[in-house]
Symmetry: D2
Subunit: 262 residues, 4 copies
């Protein structure tokens, strides 16, 4: 039964100064882990302090969500950065979030790169290794979360770090296991029933049906949900209820990995 | 003899991206502690990584040098910030530097606010308390360095933190113990002999002659030197030699405090 | 009848990157002038391009809304800046917005400083003069908008610039003509009827009842409305309708000034 | 004889806040045009104000030097930006510099993209067109300067803008006319005699010897020199003297283009 545990995670703390994004507290009622922006692509020291306090209140596990130094682009624009730059930018952001966790008497459960950094580290081994080195050095007890079956997960495991395979509840997959880019029609799945069915199939049967109808092997440790709209929160709640009803236990990433002996 | 120990500190790691400031490595040969910029008023994740490695190479004790979020103003422009903002901005920056120290297998010896934050925390009790709370929460083993006899030192000690009184080797003092502002003629002392004599008097006799000729009580734990010019490095070397010749032992801040039973 | 013209203005284009603020297009249907953020306290080059295009579509007059270089603080935190810095930061931002207006075949109607810069220029003559010099140099045909009866309006007029007295529709006034700070109870007036009545009294009778019941002389050229919430848009619409019903003509700032022979 | 005119240009105003780069005033004594950073990859409103005043003092023609929004990377890291983003970021920066030129009673002679933006616009037609559209819209009288024979020069000319072919005095060329990347040995030529000889050959004979010994056609309108070191200033002076001695007339870009009937 160990395989029937899975984590639900969401990106939070993505405001900046006067800018507010999403409904962080609503989301926290439904997910088991949250990824907190660290001031580069979003978030600032005030937002981080508030977000960590909320996470404590709702007892959700916290991870760092480091991104490229590009607030205007929300960390979604790829930049030519070296492995050395990546290692240092991840260390900086992870360290900054650790301060707020320490202040709240909490631990950092995981680290998950954001946006373009996530995508670059999924396919580029040198950048993946740089992220993993940063985590190993600064938060060796943390789980490194990456795209399922990606270079990032490989790099983390080969370095002896805990790593988690992440899947996306509402995104279509290519036959090679990569995500269909957002601008392509059908890339985002909005029907709650379909979302629940897809995640359930991933968790129980370790497969997802790609856009060409082929089956792709996938064994999710954690499921990512987007929570920046009211509809999104409803979808998160629907997924939580749907999975629970089907006998899937929701638990933080570390518990999921432990249940699998990872 | 405990009083005849003193620390020499300098601000380092103040570059940013392609911008290089000062001659960090030269300075490290002469001082016992360095204050490393943390990315807000100066420094970035690449500069911090390099600076910490240099500090390890030269075996100097490292402290965080958090500043206001104002790169253009180099953290020297006062901003109206709340105690809550100050606490969080210091936690963020201290945490970020801790990551690089952890990577290098080093500890954070001290925290010293920079520029306008330093001045504001010297005279405003609420901001001083905010800085001290941040340090207590995130780096409780670190020494908080503030202007000698200032609110910052008071706040730190009343909270049970180690605190160090800082003096300025090359700056004139007002009768109330504050520094004469830089733009006033005579505010900066450039003659090496005079600098050595003044510091010696502070260390041995616990006094400094203010601009009006009056004597101000001052008991320095650490002496700040500026190192952003070639002349400055020469001055640092002169001070080091002059103090050593007069029987003053130079040692990192924590050693100085320990020798005083603080 | 010349006195019975007034302009309604609102701050717009205050998003940044992925961050969206307010309902700019809704507001544009109701106001006669808009103040566009220029990238320092809010806004960026993409937001500015979009906002100027919208203003063209809805035929509202556009002004620059330069602020302090403090995105995190939304330009609301006072900073110690010199008149020289203020002159240059205003020139920079005004010039940047002029580019987008030129691209759209439009002219810059006015310049109105934002937030802390607005408040500092209202009471500090040297900073007021610096703002006015910047406008005179870069946009001499533009109207400089400042707090009614403030140093900024004085500085602009003494330099031969057109200047407009701004009042706040939903804010309580002190007996000296300054605004009651937001954190004080009663500082913000939310009842639409009361807002209409107050503005009507200002426009027709050149007075506002201060918090102590005294009458303050005020002759508004332009009325500022905040539009960052749905309620705010409703209030703007209510004010527009109320004033029109009472025989007040709404017109852009330059038309209002021309009607007064200013 | 028209071909024997050429412009010498240098990048200036690349400081930021307390950071100083290069010896701007020394360089201005030797070049005929300067490219002024506009606050994105370098420069800020204070640096721009100072640099424009210096350019006026030394009577050098001024151009805008817009870059990617990446101060830490000095605009040298490629970022995935859309043509729409490029158009708006160039408009913003050109407009900002125009303000300082207006204040100084000067005109903008040219626009030359910086660093990664320059390289991207040299090879990507859509980005090249975006830069050209921005210039056409905001500074239609300005010359657009691009890598000789690049897409940027093509895009500008096809849009009816004046365009200038730029060559690099101290850089080795590939057989296809592109620059040998800096990290490859021999990419940078430091011997003054060789630099003068190469530029002279370009100006008189319209050719450069590529790294493989082949001849590449090149007809320079302007020659770029780097001036961020003391040696660089000496090289600029040597080139100026060498070219003058050989009968080449140095003149601002617009004069050079006019002499060629462009």
């Amino acid at each position: 039964m160990a395989n029937y545990l899975v984590d639900l995670n969401a990106d939070l703390g993505e405001g900046f100064g006067a800018y507010v994004v999403g409904t962080d507290e609503e989301l926290m009622k439904h997910v088991t882990s949250v990824n907190v922006a660290c001031g580069f692509h979003a978030g600032d020291f005030m937002v981080m302090a508030r977000t960590v306090k909320l996470a404590k209140k709702w007892s959700v596990a916290v991870g760092a969500h480091p991104g490229l130094p590009d607030l205007q682009g929300f960390g979604r624009r790829e930049m030519k950065v070296t492995p050395e730059e990546v290692k240092s930018m991840v260390m900086y952001q992870v360290g900054a979030l650790q301060a707020f966790l320490k202040d709240a008497g909490m631990h950092m459960q995981h680290v998950k790169p954001h946006g373009a950094l996530y995508n670059m580290a999924a396919r580029d081994l040198a950048l993946a290794a740089a992220v993993a080195e940063a985590v190993k050095s600064v938060a060796p007890e943390a789980v490194l979360v990456g795209l399922a079956n990606s270079e990032l997960v490989n790099a983390a495991r080969s370095m002896g770090l805990m790593a988690a395979n992440e899947v996306f509840a509402d995104r279509a997959y290519n036959p090679d296991g990569s995500l269909v880019p957002r601008h392509i029609p059908g890339a985002v799945i909005t029907d709650p029933e379909q979302v629940v069915e897809r995640v359930f199939r991933m968790v129980y049967h370790h497969e997802v049906i790609a856009v060409d109808g082929s089956k792709v092997f996938i064994d999710p440790d954690t499921v990512c949900l987007h929570g920046d709209t009211a509809e999104a929160v409803a979808l998160v709640a629907a997924l939580r209820n749907g999975l629970t009803r089907e006998g899937v236990t929701l638990a933080p990433i570390k518990t999921v990995l432990a249940s699998k002996g990872l």
